[in-house]
């Protein structure tokens, strides 16, 4: 600790250079924070998907329906503890850019299968009692300034006309990463209001008693409905979510590539700064050694400078990214789970520290191995 003032004095020897380097690291880590947030958002469904839940959809395509009658038959399959269903609605609120997922749900079973969504019992009962009632996630409610009791008009797309709902409840996810952007309403309301597709649902979500039975149950389900007019394709919710995310491309690979380029650039920037700092101070390093500072102490002093620059820049960048994500989804609904977790913030700072160590190591070793007589000759 007693060397810290000396380290800081050296850092502010060339203020502009230090500030620019810290700024470069901050920008890089800000970018890193955003990339991680986007990646998490795109894969949010995968991360929080239940391993004990299966998605049963029409084998031809997700947009093809399944009969409502399948619910009871699904419940009869071994290891299935509950089966619920939902249908995609796809309406818009005021303008097409106001996108958020809307599902017509089976109100009797949905909460049993998705216990992670928390709703006050009072609000849930009010929803059940109102055929035109709706439940919305906290994020979407905040986005549009909706409150319980509001009347929400949605403009249908594939189901034409204006659909009006009474907002009866607002749910919250119990885990970070839970999707709080959904809009639910009664499947019966949809069924009674539409002229076609009556008696069908979009897909089923099946809860099984043990995740180890996922493969066997998936097979049993698809066999049960094989050779019927509505053949099924069943997979775990996690595999389903991953497949959904993959439709946008290999986001993780893309993010890793960009991240690697950013980190490599960071290494060059920080390494160059430290190399210049050491080159300019060779005689001073010689003086320090003359005074009795050991080679390792000199190594530590140079590394400490590199670490301070990298840690400060990294923390600043991560903090800026956090502040940015606090503003919520900037895309208007495409990234519903838009937040930077504490773990990811710490990871970002650790990356910055590692960059500082690696970038500072060569200049620090140069300083350590400097011969005093050679260094003093450069005065």
């Amino acid at each position: 600790m007693k060397y810290l003032p000396f380290v800081f004095r050296n850092l502010f020897r060339k203020k502009t250079r230090t500030i620019l380097t810290v700024g470069s690291i901050a920008v890089a880590l800000f970018l890193f924070g955003l990339l991680v947030t986007i990646e998490r958002s795109l894969n949010a469904g995968v991360d929080v998907a239940g391993v004990d839940r299966l998605i049963v959809r029409n084998k031809i395509s997700l947009i093809m329906p399944l009969p409502l009658a399948y619910q009871e038959r699904l419940r009869q399959i071994d290891h299935v503890s509950e089966a619920t269903y939902a249908s995609w609605f796809g309406a818009i609120y005021q303008e097409p850019k106001n996108f958020f997922p809307q599902f017509a749900i089976d109100t009797e079973t949905y909460r049993t299968v998705f216990p992670e969504f928390e709703i006050s019992e009072e609000e849930w009962q009010a929803f059940l009692a109102d055929q035109a009632g709706a439940v919305v996630g906290r994020v979407t409610a905040e986005r549009f300034g909706w409150e319980v009791g509001d009347r929400i008009p949605l403009q249908g797309t594939f189901l034409s006309g204006t659909w009006e709902f009474n907002l009866r409840a607002i749910y919250e996810g119990s885990r970070p990463g839970d999707d709080e952007s959904q809009f639910w309403f009664h499947a019966k309301f949809l069924d009674e209001s539409r002229n076609w597709g009556k008696g069908t649902v979009g897909w089923y979500t099946v809860k099984i008693d043990d995740a180890d039975h996922a493969v066997a149950v998936s097979k049993a389900v698809d066999e049960r409905f094989g050779n019927s007019a509505y053949e099924t394709s069943t997979e775990t919710e996690q595999a389903f979510a991953a497949g959904f995310a993959k439709q946008i491309g290999n986001i993780r690979m893309l993010i890793l590539s960009i991240g690697a380029v950013v980190l490599f650039t960071l290494l060059l920037v920080t390494g160059n700064t430290m190399a210049m700092a050491v080159r300019e101070r060779v005689p001073e390093l010689g003086v320090l050694k003359t005074l009795g500072f050991g080679d390792r102490t000199v190594l530590f002093l140079v590394l400490a400078e590199s670490l301070v620059i990298a840690t400060f820049g990294g923390a600043l960048g991560v903090l800026l990214a956090k502040l940015f994500t606090l503003g919520g989804d900037p895309t208007g609904g495409f990234l519903p789970v838009f937040y930077l977790s504490t773990g990811e913030m710490i990871f970002g700072i650790v990356i910055a520290i590692v960059v500082g160590l690696v970038a500072g190591s060569i200049p620090a070793l140069t300083a350590m191995n400097l011969r005093i007589v050679d260094a003093l000759r450069r005065v």
């Binding site: 320090l288 050694k289 003359t290 005074l291 009795g292 005093i372 007589v373």
Partner: protein, 236 residues
């Protein structure tokens, strides 16, 4: 008493025996020091003179453990430094040697106080104890009112005073001065020499000084000339 005959002297603080240093430059071998002997007792002030390239600074570097000889030994206060590891040599320097350079070699981003405090960071002294030592050293060199000044805010003479304070703050066994007045005007040089003389006479410091300046050499108890890699007694 200063001696260059290589005979045993029991009271020697600094004892140099058969010290040689060769440099290879290109294909050529240069014998800078050749079989040099020296004995210096505690509290003596010795000046080394000689033409450029005669090996004065090389000798000082070897005495201060900044460089290693090709052959021979340097023993200071019973410690033979020529066989010490780099790590031990660094801590030995911190405890036993005070260096004063021609160009002062202060750290520009540190105040006078912080420059003087630097060698004390290597000790186990508390912050308060370090402060006390620094203030004492600054007062001794007559710069008690300049402790918050940066080197650029000081004159050459004042900078050298700060460098002297830095050299004596750990109360080292001896001081090694490499042309301490070489970059100063006459008046400032005289003040620095007064200070060095005072350190020797009033505080019992052993001082080994390399200089080109005959007036500076006059302040020493003895002046030795380096000629063709060997020491020659000049005056006392």
């Amino acid at each position: 008493m200063v001696s260059i005959d290589g005979k045993e002297h029991h009271n020697s603080l600094v004892r140099v025996r058969n010290l040689s240093k060769l440099y290879r430059r290109g294909g050529e071998t240069i014998n800078v020091l050749q079989g040099l002997n020296l004995d210096v007792e505690k509290g003596e002030f010795v000046a080394f003179m000689g033409p450029s390239g005669s090996g004065k600074t090389t000798l000082l570097n070897l005495l201060g453990g900044l460089d290693t000889p090709t052959s021979g030994t340097v023993t200071v206060d019973g410690d033979e430094i020529t066989n010490m590891s780099g790590r031990n040599l660094a801590s030995w320097r911190a405890r036993h040697v005070g260096f004063i350079f021609q160009m002062y070699n202060l750290i520009p981003v540190l105040t006078a106080f912080q420059n003087i405090e630097l060698p004390l960071l290597l000790t186990k002294l508390s912050k308060a104890q370090r402060r006390q030592h620094v203030e004492t050293a600054l007062t001794l060199v007559g710069l008690g009112d300049r402790m918050k000044h940066y080197p650029r805010q000081l004159s050459g003479g004042q900078e050298q005073r700060v460098a002297i304070a830095r050299a004596i703050v750990t109360d080292p066994t001896f001081l090694l001065c490499d042309e301490p007045t070489g970059d100063l005007d006459r008046k400032a040089a005289e003040e620095i020499l007064d200070l060095l003389t005072e350190l020797e006479s009033n505080h019992g410091k052993t001082i080994l000084m390399v200089t080109h300046d005959p007036l500076a050499a006059e302040r020493a108890d003895m002046t030795l000339h380096l000629d063709k890699g060997a020491l020659v007694e000049a005056a006392s």
